[in-house]
Amino acid sequence: MRKHLLLLSLILVVAIQFTFGQSEGDYYFSKTVKGTVEEVTAQLKTELKKQGFGVITEIDMDKKLKEKLDGVDLSSYKILGVCSPGFAWQTLQAEENIGLFLPCKALVKDNGNGNTEVVIVNPSVLMVMLGKKELAEIADKVKEKFLIALNNLK
């Protein structure tokens, strides 16, 4: 039984790596879909909401940089601040300075030819740095939810 479980989890890990093209230790997860940045952003917000997360900040980085820097012209690059009040509260109770890493960031970027890439930070990687067990456990739960939202994008 234990052997089967081990094998099953191994297959799952490989499947996740295959799907997202990254390994567990990477600082982000990514998926590229067809659609405009606006369409994909709306879809991402819906999927995140289903997992209990709201988008509380939104930065159009391409526009910001174009406005501030001469000669810079980037493709659409949105930075969304993703937050679940419940999880945020849990993390604050474990570590008051966690605000240094909140909200979690998701990117929606135009990669050309109608391809839009969604990138979401891997909260577990940052939490490891803080070295607190409670935080790592919360981060793992958040990570699972982010992966479901990303996986559901079409």
Partner: protein
Amino acid sequence: MSYYFTKTIEGDFEQVIEKVTDELKKEGFGILTEIDVKATLKKKLDVDFYNYKILGACNPPYAHKALEAEDKIGTMLPCNVIVQEREAGKIEVSAVNPEASMQAVQNEALAGVAGEITEKLQKVINNL
């Protein structure tokens, strides 16, 4: 390596935020986002918390350099500066240490930018 720089000063919460904003500006940072943690927790969870704000600071030339070196670095932008009033009149200001958080990225090309931006944020905290 500590993942943040911090300093506690005496004063009024809102006045300290103004001071932080000024010091950030001197080093080329604008504030792109501002989250009132206390108000958000009250509204969403009916939890009482002390004054706590998260400021998202961005220095455009450095953000651009960082993006050129690593196109997913937006997941760590803007740089957060947090202002907390755990005890009345004692305001703690902390800034993330980008050099520490960018260790997770493992991109040599980022090291230079991370180092420079770290120095600037450290200066902001020191000057308070």
